[in-house]
Each structure stands twice: as C-alpha cells, then as structure tokens.
Symmetry: C2
Subunit: 334 residues, 2 copies
C-alpha cells in the first residue's frame, strides 16, 4: 500500500481534532482510499507542552523550514490567523506541496496569491473546513453542483453569533449575559469581536463568493453589520411576526432569472450584491431552523434550485472531518 507523508502546522483544536480522527479511523480510511497516511511532522510552538491530541508517531518540530525541506507531500495548515499561516502556505505550495487549510482569515485575505501559487506549481489547495466546519458545502459547489450557474449563496456562517441569537430568542436575557454564558461554554472567545461584528462571517462569505461567482472580494470590502446592537426589543418584534433574527452572509446576483432566460455569461460577470447583516427570516426560509451553534448554507443554482446544508460549524471533530476529507481527496490522487 502506497504511503503518503503529511505534516501538520499546528496541533490545537483543528490540527489535533484531525489527528484524533486519523488515529481512530486509520484502518477504515486506508481501506477506503487504498493508501496509507503517515503523519510525518507536526509544527508546534512549544515543544515541551504536554499534548492533548494524538501525535501518531510524528516528529514534533518548531521549525517550519524543516517541514518545507522534508519529503512530505501534503501540508495541513492549522495555525489560524493570517500570518505566518499565509506565508507558510505560499511557501509550501511554491515548493510543490499540496496544502489543506481550515483557515478562513488567511484564505480570504490572500486568496488570489494562494490560488495562483497552487496553480503555478500544479498542486492542490483545499479548504473545505474554512467555511461551515464539517458541512461539505465547498466540495459540493466545486463538485457535483458544478453544472449550475449560481444565483445566490447565503448562510449562517458563524456558530457563536447563532448561539447568542438563539438564546436571546428563547430566553429573556440581555445580550451581555448571553455572551458571557457563550464564553463560559467556549462557544465564544474572550475577545468576541471577530464573531459578533461579522468579521468571521465576512471571511467565509469572501471564500463562498470566490467559488460561486469566480470573483474575489476582499473581506474588508464586504458591507458588514454585526449583532452587538441587537436588543431584546428587536428580537421580540421579530418574534411577534413569527420571525427569527439570524446573522446572514449573503451574495446574490442582482437580477433573478429562470434557467431558460439566464444570461449566457461564461465568465460569470454578473453583478452581485453581498453583505453580512442580521436579517429577520420567517419559517418558510430554509435557514429558519438552523439554531444554536449550528451553521447552515443555502445554495441557489439555475438547475438544482435550492440546496441547503446544515451541520456543526465548529469544534475539533466536525472541523477535523472536513480537513481529513480534503487530505484523503488529495492522497487518493497521488
């Protein structure tokens, strides 16, 4: 059985969760792809820290150069943050290594540069875990839905804010109290700005726009409104109309049309609107019942019409599921 050597950059929740899946399911996975995955190196910042997750016999290192100069074929970037993650990915791609990442911030900020590096080197850059955690939405857009001209992509793309909005809707608690509880449950970070101000959702929407509309929009250029101004009165007003307030990231073509009279624009040069903002939706909306920390992504195409996917948008194992799926996709073709 052919062996495929891979390396992880980072061994926190995403890298560690992926290693946990590889550790538990390796025999099943090897059978499915008829290849053996060897975790050769793991880049960590502190070599002496006790490890929470399995290391699968990998060599721990604090030197990215060591991984870059090794014979690993796939580099899995699980550091988070824009730098040094983006530079590491670019270097790995340029040196002919395939890259898998869960890092929406780095990807959204540097998408054109990273895609160009992958293309120039003839290697893959896969990033299913960067949007919607375990939900295989990007694979669908780039895969089986590829015969469609896309009209719209819209999603509940951030689990933290969806948890807060759900709790605000179900219990008469103030925003600050719900945020505090979310932080206690580790659904929100100590500094919740990126979540509650819609920055995280904008990163993910930027990636979805690239895939659906073949157009790059920097996340800072996406009009954005977060949830920190939402009051209990807003929630109650929506409720009285049978609605829920959801933080949606949406991109849609300005004009809607049916398949048969869709403009034949091969380069997808249609004008699109895009925004991240709280929207009151009613029960006829496919995302109405996506509650708590779940994510949901609605895709509208001229042939498939509406497809909605729902699942856990975060967490070591759901996110790891998407990372491992990408690793296997590349490994299978090596």
């Amino acid at each position: 059985m052919k062996k495929i050597k891979i390396a992880f950059l980072g061994h926190g929740n995403v890298g560690g969760g992926s290693c946990e899946i590889l550790s538990e399911n390796m025999e099943l996975i090897s059978k499915r792809i008829d290849k053996e995955i060897i975790v050769s190196h793991i880049l960590v910042s502190n070599m002496d820290k006790p490890r929470k997750w399995p290391t699968l016999g990998a060599k721990l290192t604090d030197s990215f150069e060591e991984i870059l100069n090794s014979d690993v074929e796939i580099v899995v970037e699980a550091l988070g943050g824009i730098e040094p993650a983006a530079s590491y990915m670019e270097k790995a791609l340029k040196s002919g290594k395939h890259v898998v990442t869960a890092n929406k911030a780095a990807l959204a900020a540097k998408y054109p540069v990273l895609m160009a590096a992958a293309k120039d080197s003839g290697v893959s850059l896969l990033f299913e875990a960067s949007v919607g955690g375990g939900i295989p939405a990007l694979s669908a857009i780039l895969g089986n839905l590829r015969g469609n001209r896309f009209f719209e992509v819209s999603g509940i793309l951030n689990g933290t804010t969806n948890y807060i909005l759900t709790k605000l809707g179900n219990e008469r608690l103030a925003y600050e109290d719900v945020l505090k509880r979310a932080q206690e449950l580790c659904f929100a970070e100590a500094d919740p700005t990126a979540d509650v101000e819609g920055i995280d959702a904008a990163n993910k929407l930027s990636i979805l726009i690239s895939l659906c509309f073949d157009k790059y929009v920097h996340p800072e250029d996406i009009p954005r409104k977060g949830i920190s101004d939402i009051t209990l009165d807003d929630i109650e007003a929506a409720k009285s109309q049978g609605k829920k307030i959801k933080l949606l990231g949406t991109a849609r073509v300005k004009e809607s049309f049916e398949l048969t009279d869709a403009p034949k624009s091969a380069n997808n040069s249609l004008e699109i609107d895009y925004f991240v903002e709280p929207v009151a939706i009613d029960e006829t909306h496919p995302l109405f019942n996506v509650d708590n920390e779940y994510n949901g992504i609605l895709i509208r195409g001229d042939a498939v019409e509406d497809v909605m996917m729902y699942g856990k948008g975060a967490g070591p194992l759901p996110t790891g599921s998407a990372v491992v799926g990408d690793i296997l996709k590349i490994a299978e073709n090596l």
Copy 2:
C-alpha cells in the same frame, strides 16, 4: 480544448433535463473543467417523436449497439426501470466506458454486478442523481465525509409521499383526494405503488447502505411499510403531540457510541438496522421541516456528527444537475 464525447440513453425528463443544462451552461461548464463536452449520440425508442428537450447536435439512434461500438467515453443511462437499463450499463462498463446513471431501481437491484464491472474495467460508475435528486449527498459520503465512521443515514427519500403527507397534515383531506391532486400536479404517477408503498425509498436506502456501510442489502430485503394506511386520525394524533409523520428510510448501527470508544472495525462489519416506514418526528428532528416535494438526507458520522442536506428530490433540472455534475467529474479526469 480537449473534447469528451458522451452519449445519453433516453431523452425523457432526466436525459432531457441534463441536455437542457448542458445546452444552457456549456460555455460556463467548459471554462470550469477546461474540456469540451460533445453529446455524440442519444438513444431514443421512437426516432420520429418530436423532441421536447435540446439534442445538442447529437445523432439520434434506436440502437444501443451503435453507441456501444462508438468512441463515446461516457454513457449516461437515463432510461429508468431495471431492464434493459442494467444490462446496457453492464455492457458499457465492460467495454471500458464510464457510466453515469440516475436509475435507483437498476442500481439497487444490480449494485454488486455493476460495481464489479466498473472495477474490472477500471472505469467510473457514478450515480449521484439516483438518491435525493439534486442533493449532493452521495458525493459527500464518498468525498469530503470519507474520514468518518458512519453511524446512521436517514432520509425523506421520496418526494411524492412527502408531498402527500404534507398536504394531509395541512388540510383535512382524505388520502385518496390528496393522491388524486398529487397525480394532477404530476407529483405522483398514474400507478403510485412504487412511491406510496415505499419501494422507491427502499431502492434509495439500499444505495445509501452500500455507500455508508460497505454492505449490500437488496431492496426487497429491506423491511418496508408505506403510507397508504395512514389515516387522518394518525396525522391528527401526531399533530396534537407537535409531531409530523414522515416516510423515512433509515439505516443505523445497532449500538451508538462516541468517536473515542467506537469499535475499530476496518471492514465496517458493524451490525446495522434498516427500514422504510412512516415515523412521527418532532421539531427537534433535522428532517422535521422538510415538507412538500422536497427531500432531506441526514448523515451521522463519528467526526462530523450530524449533517443534513435538503433540496429538490426530483424534476428534470434538479436531477439533471446531479447527472451533469457526475459527467463533469469524470470528464475532468479524462
């Protein structure tokens, strides 16, 4: 740009809908996969019948042998029914042609034979459209979710019965009256047996079992109960408990477990339960809001936890979306 010749067997709703998508979106599709799709032949039963759908310059023929002996690389089976569809697919695979099909009945009945033929010839047999119409669930199970050990797959797999059950729940009409209306709207066939008795759902569940659990169960061996005995009283009783009756096709491992204590069974030899039957589900169930002619498929894996996908389970264009997606997946790798 490399040209890929394909042939359609059948030019009804599925074959025709696929041709419509190829016709409308060809320029976009060619750009996406960097190949040109040429529809070389279309097998029809009546050469003289006026065509409802685009033929894309293909040669119409009533001879399958002509297609078998041609240089087409992909055969798209869109005839429906078990025979001659299954025999045609087997012959095409054995002659080294890739096959795409939407035909759940033929596939469920002959899965081991057809998969063996594909494997022996080193060609692909893809069938996303056979389950859930346009919903890319099979691509997810075989693709990005492949790092998971699956616990359960459960779905509203038949749009006709879901339409009938939804109408029974919303309006106080007798089963026969709703069925008649469904037939008038073309949501049900003149002979609705395969739908209302759960035969169609059992075919789809057989396919899902093969993919999730690496185990073939003939659809006739799946315990099955349809919806024709459902009374308004049943519906009202469910409603009074906040529930809806849905026809579910479900397969699940007998014992549930968390990732970390999952039995390490590489050959997926876990015992599974499977059945098609009407089930009363409450609003906490991810399939609760899948109404009318929509389908929904819930997948539970040890890493990803719950993923649910929702979309149109039938219709020329949604089904065609899945067929075209499969064609492009094969064409891209040729």
